[in-house]
Structures are given as structure tokens and as C-alpha cells.
């Protein structure tokens, strides 16, 4: 038996394993570096959504909630509801259609009701709803 052979095999293995460990060790921070560092969007506290008296029953207003669109609806019987204005299909921004009292997506013809539920088209889920707070005449949305 050649006594050199096992030693070489062990050395060879150690070299390969060492290389794999170093490469792997470097790849992990590299991959984590590419992972987004912080979540964007919601910060602390509710977002101002404008005065309540200018939002007539059955109408809607688009609010910029820290860079994300939110649709605030005035219910016909009083009170307010707020929905994320990002379509659950492929992320386009939806619009309130005053004539049909529905929420329409301009990209793939998705239609949501005034309760945020899907009425027709490809969206797989209803629009996420947010709480609306009324402080005097000021509306605020908890996103």
C-alpha cells in the first residue's frame, strides 16, 4: 500500500473543502447584500387624508400614503372606507368610477365593488382595507 496516497487524498479533500468554505462564506454576505435592506412604505402613525366635508357621499379621493396610493371612499349612508389602490392582480393603480360606483383597474380590466371585493376580471383577491379615523373635519388613514 502506498502510504502517500491517503495523505494526498486527505490534502486534496481539505483543499477542496477549504475552497468551498471560503467561496460559500463569501457568497452568503454577497447574496444578503443584494437583499433589500429595509421595508419601504408605512412609517409611524396614520396618514392625513384631507377634509371630510369636501368628500361628498358616493365619491372618492386618492391619497398619497407615504408614497403608496390609497383610495378613500365616502359611503352613500355616511362614513368612510379606505382601500389600497394597488390592484391585487399585477400592481397597477386602480381608479374610482363615479358613473358605475365601482373601482376599475386600467391595466387588465379588473373591477372591484365599493366594498373592495372583486366583481370581475383577473384580480385574485379583494383590495386590502385600512381603517379611517375622523378627527373633526380631518380624515386620517391607518396604513
Amino acid at each position: 500500500m502506498n502510504p502517500e496516497l491517503p495523505r494526498r487524498t486527505v490534502l486534496d479533500f481539505a483543499l477542496r473543502a477549504g475552497f468551498a468554505l471560503v467561496a460559500g462564506g463569501m457568497a452568503v454576505p454577497g447574496a444578503l447584500y443584494l437583499w433589500p435592506a429595509s421595508r419601504q412604505g408605512p412609517g409611524e402613525g396614520p396618514v392625513p387624508a384631507g377634509p371630510a366635508d369636501t368628500l361628498t357621499p358616493g365619491s372618492a379621493r386618492m391619497v398619497n400614503a407615504r408614497g403608496r396610493p390609497v383610495l378613500v371612499l365616502a359611503k352613500p349612508d355616511g362614513g368612510f372606507r379606505a382601500f389600497s389602490a394597488i390592484c391585487t392582480h399585477l400592481g397597477c393603480v386602480v381608479k374610482w368610477d363615479d358613473a358605475t360606483k365601482t373601482i376599475l383597474c386600467p391595466c387588465h380590466a379588473g373591477v372591484f365593488g365599493s366594498d373592495g371585493k372583486v366583481q370581475s376580471g383577473p384580480p385574485p383577491r379583494p383590495l386590502p382595507e385600512y381603517d379611517v379615523i375622523r378627527a373633526g373635519n380631518e380624515l386620517k388613514v391607518k396604513v
Partner: protein, 373 residues
Amino acid sequence: MKRLRSWLAERLPMPAIDGFLKAQASKPLPPHTSWWHTFGSLALFLLVNQIVTGILLMVYYRPTTEQAFESVGYISAKVTFGWLIRGLHAWGSTLMVIMLLFHMIRTFFSGAFKKPRELTWVAGALTLAVTLTFCFTGYLLPWNQLSYWATTVGTEASGAIPVAGQGLRRLLLGGEAVSQETLSRFYVVHVVVLPWVIGALVAVHFALIRVQGLATLERVGEERPPKGAGWIPFFPHHVLKELMVFSIFLAAMITLVVLSPAELGEKADPLVTPAGIKPEWYFLPTYQLLKYFPQLLGLFVSMVPPLLVLIWPFLDRTPERRFSKRPVSVAIGISALVLAVGLGVLGWVSERKLSLFGTPWHFDHYGMPSREP
């Protein structure tokens, strides 16, 4: 020149280098080599165009959400010949996709992908995939409404992949929505990562072509050796043909840039999605196909055609190369082309109002027409 040569000869094996270059230049091409064989060279010509014009655009382009749109406007309106450089880059990308598709169609129907050239085909198919990734990442860079929302829709689609989808989407976007992080990522991928990838793929593709030579029309295993009557010398015969095509093509491209300049539109507004957002023409078949299936199934279905293209040489292993002797694969090829064009047309007309022979029609989400009242 002579002194430079003798200086080099003292340091490098010049006879071997000369011999290699001469062998490459005089390499004979099969007798059927024709104008159809210039599509691949045209794609290479366009790749060079994209690299040169891309470097020039980078001199003025600023990859930030505040300045990207304005800097592209500045290039188009203020920089001397900026409109030409941007136009050549924008038209060059579309034409490169067309030339790669034509080159692939020629290769498919002439059976040139068969043994021993399977890997040449695979490298070519991957080059097309990388070119489309170039198009997708480059489309966002002007930061206008169309590019912003096309990127939103394109990246959201990846979120439907089970398990890894949401993570992949977040990794692509660099956050929850298309933003500065997305622009930075797409910019780095577009100008640094992809050029190296496409460079490597094209190098492999060309090395394989030079080693194996162009395919003849004989059956697999019965190819004639590259000598005898009818074989065409690469230089000067084929090179002259290519130079002629390049000249005409460049003139046509500049004409397109002048007659149909690259548009800029409106600056991206993350709070307003414009109506009728459509992807570029080369993504229209996939865009339309995705509409006919639920999101997850659609993703799987849309992945089948590119996968089939990639592995086609390993599926079609019949020895025949001639068009007329391969009725099944030719029928499959023609059907695939008709399907792709059909889906593309449906994608283009969908959600549009068009007037055909004086009658107004509305095409719905699925491309089905109905008469306008």
C-alpha cells in the same frame, strides 16, 4: 509597420499567429451559404451598436428617480446628436431581437442545429434570452410612465411563482414597489452584468461555429468535408456580402431613427396608472398568453415555449436537415410561429377600439371583438 512586425516577432510566435488568422479568414463556407446567413452577423453588428451607443448614453444619463427622465430628455433635446445616439440604441434593441429571431428561424428550418451543433444552438438561444433581459432592464431606465408601469406589471407577475415568488419579486424590485432601488438594480444589471454575460455567450457561440464550421444540408453524419467545388471562401466573398448588408442596414436604421424617433412621454408617476399599458412587441405573445390562464398556471404555460426552444436539438434528433424531408418538425415550427404572431396580434388589439373598414370595433381583455354601438 515592418519595424513593429519585427519588434513583435522577437516577442511573439508570429508565424503561428499568422497561420491561425489566415486559416480563419480562408475557412470555406458550404455552397448553400446565402444572404439568409447574414442575420447572425447583423445581430453581432447590432450588439456592437448597442455597446457603443450605450457607452455614449452613459456619459449623460443619471440613474436616479429625480434625474433619469430629465437626463434622457436632455440627451434627446440638448446634446449634439443625442437624438441620434438614443435613437440608434432604442431602434438597435428592437432590431437586434428581430435579427436574432430571423437567425434562429433560418437555423431551425435549415436543420443547422443538429448534431454536432446542439451547443451552438443552446448558446444562441441563451443569447436571445439575455437580449430580452437587456430589453426589460433597459426599458425602465428612461423612468417614464410606460416604462414604470410595464416594469410594475412585469415584476408583479414573478410574484405568482409558488414559494419563492414574493422573495424573487422583492429581490428584483429592491423593495415593495418600483422605486429608486429598482432603478439602481436594473441599471447595474443592464450596463455591467449583462454585457459580460452576453459577451461570454457570443464568444462561445462563435468559437463553436469556427471549430465546427457551418452546417451543410446533408444528413447528420454524412456532411461533406469543407473542400471542392462550390465551397465559398469566408474572406473576401462572404465578408463582402456582410459589409454590403451592414451598409444597407445602417442606412435603414438611421432612416428609422429620423422618421420614427424614440419617444419619452411623461415622467413616471407611481400614483397614476395610465390606460392601455402594454409591453414591447416581443413580450406581447407572453402578455396575452398569461391572460388565458390563472396566474400560476399561466406562468408555467408561458415557460414551456422558451424551454422547448432551448432544448429543441435534444428533442429533434432525426438525421435529416433538408426542409422538405422534415415535415413534422417544419409543421411544428410553422405552427409555433403562427401561434406566437397570433397571440402577439391579439395582445396588441386587446383593450383597444379600432375602426376596420369603417366599422368601429372594441377588442376586450382577451382580444375578442365586439361591435361598438
